[in-house]
């Protein structure tokens, strides 16, 4: 993050050099590997046609809603499982199966049962992205010093206060760590759902570009998707940093 500019420049050399060579070697009407300048043209064309921004907005909205739901649900599940060992033993194998289930496989089932639409998308994305948050929250509850929990019991702290003022703050850094792990999963599954259901969004746009053999458009959208992913990850990372500056470190 705080690397010196010269180092950053050096680290970008292979990428920039690769794109430069590509630009020089490819002809602008190449059907398979159009040069970066053609990507830019395709991008401005999509922008003028008015398809680009609504798709980006739709993808961002799905990711944001799914991340929020996964965070709330994952924290609640993690708190419950972490504080009741019997619950962990009871749900362990079932959770393990869901966790290792490749998310793409669930999409068609959800599409049949819930229909196409944002509800289905969010359900599938949450099913894939909730696990890192659950596991980290469980680890966070385990890491709380037992004396802290015992003293709340001795002092007869009501459950509500215990969760909001003792468990919550202690677990928060772990939840955020889980959120950071969940973010890339969330983005990937969002794009996948868009591709498979042809709903609004950058994923659907990208697949359509491929099916229409508009390779410059496809490469341009790949760059858009990459930047989008980078931006979302940075937002989550800075949320984590912001909270961590006000909180004791994890572990």
């Amino acid at each position: 993050m705080n690397a010196r500019p010269s180092r950053v420049a050096l680290g970008l050399v292979p990428l920039v050099a690769g794109l430069g060579v590509w630009q020089l070697l490819a002809t602008s009407d190449s059907p398979y590997a159009p040069p970066p300048s053609a990507w830019w043209q395709a991008l401005t064309q999509m922008q003028e046609a008015g398809t680009l921004l609504p798709a980006v907005a739709s993808t961002l909205e799905t990711v944001a809603v799914a991340l929020a739901v996964a965070a709330v649900l994952g924290t609640a599940l993690g708190l419950a499982i972490g504080s009741v060992p019997a619950l962990q033993r009871a749900l362990g194998p079932t959770m393990e199966f869901w966790r290792t289930m490749p998310p793409p496989a669930i999409v068609p089932a959800a599409a049949l049962l819930l229909g196409l639409g944002r509800t289905m998308a969010v359900v599938v994305i949450v099913l894939a992205a909730v696990w890192p948050i659950v596991l980290n929250t469980v680890a966070g509850v385990r890491a709380i010093h037992p004396v802290l929990l015992e003293s709340t019991r001795v002092l007869h702290v009501p459950p509500r206060t215990r969760v909001l003022q003792v468990l919550g703050p202690a677990v928060l850094p772990w939840v955020l760590l889980g959120l950071r792990v969940a973010t890339p999963v969330c983005i990937i599954v969002t794009l996948l759902v868009e591709m498979l259901t042809g709903s609004a969004g950058v994923g659907a746009l990208l697949l359509q570009a491929e099916r229409d053999f508009l390779s410059a458009q496809a490469f341009a959208l790949l760059v858009v998707v990459g930047l989008l992913g980078l931006a979302i990850n940075l937002v989550v990372l800075s949320l984590d940093r912001w909270v961590m500056l006000r909180r004791p470190p994890r572990r």
């Binding site: 970008l12 019997a86 033993r89 079932t94 393990e96 490749p102 496989a105 794009l191 697949l207 992913g229």
Partner: protein, 257 residues
């Protein structure tokens, strides 16, 4: 082993109870979704697909594709990681580019690969290998860099050559984390293989799932989904066993994806 069995018994029972509840709810008509089959219908459909050979063929295709992709990723990712860990100039040159490339959502590469290689197995394997090579490379770098400096000094005291030191000291010390990378990579390779089959290459388990969905045969679709889950579990468990036998310290190492 016995204690472990007893420890998991309750959890397995809950899983079975869940399946029983599903069966009861659907066959008694309490829950009625047009496309939600009961577990017995799913099993029956699975057996039918198994009998006519469709299931084994599809599972074989997916498994072979994922394993080829994983093998390529082990070679490329391992070499990349070792190069970056052992040569400071190379690391300075590559780290940022690698970080940018590996955060690109892998699914976005499926249409690109389909453009370049057509709707073929090459597409499937290329994308899966691409996704699997990053955790392998990152954990190889992490594993090699995490080797304690003392161990290097031991090598120096024993007057071992550079190659011998790498082979006899550094690599074994880095192995646990490298194996974690390999395991993450295998899981990703399978996921991306299935996804690529759904979007690009009409073959394998991913294609069958989409196919059954579109044919409105939810029982067969759920059977294929179940098979994907079982293949994932089996691959993960198999590799974990093999790794635990090869390097006993593996269990304790946490990796980065």
């Amino acid at each position: 082993m016995r204690a472990e069995l007893r420890h998991h018994a309750g959890g397995v029972l809950v899983g079975l109870a869940f399946v029983g509840l599903w069966q009861g709810a659907v066959s008694s008509g309490v829950v009625h979704y047009q496309y939600l089959p009961a577990p017995d219908a799913v099993v029956a459909a699975g057996v039918r697909q198994l009998r006519d050979g469709a299931l084994l063929g599809a599972a074989g295709h997916t498994l072979v594709s994922a394993l080829i992709a994983w093998g390529i990723a082990l070679l490329v990712g391992g070499a990349l990681g070792m190069g970056m860990a052992l040569s400071a100039p190379l690391r300075a040159l590559l780290t940022l580019s690698v970080d940018l490339l590996r955060t690109l959502p892998v699914i976005a590469f499926v249409p690109i690969a389909a453009l370049l290689f057509g709707l073929s197995r090459t597409t499937e394997v290329t994308v899966a290998a691409w996704s699997a090579l990053w955790p392998i490379a990152v954990n190889t770098v992490g594993g090699l860099e995490g080797v304690h400096a003392r161990l290097g000094e031991v090598g120096a005291v024993l007057q071992l050559g550079r190659a011998r030191r790498l082979w006899a000291i550094t690599l074994p010390a880095a192995a646990p984390l490298m194996l974690v990378g390999a395991r993450l990579g295998l899981g990703l390779a399978l996921i991306v293989t299935v996804a690529a089959e759904m979007i690009a290459n009409p073959a394998g388990l991913g294609y069958e799932i989409v196919q059954m969905q579109q044919a409105l045969r939810p029982d067969a679709m759920f059977a294929y989904i179940l098979v994907v889950g079982v293949v994932g579990l089996a691959l993960n468990a198999g590799l974990q066993q093999a790794a635990a036998r090869a390097v006993p310290a593996t269990q304790t190492a946490g990796g980065r994806s």
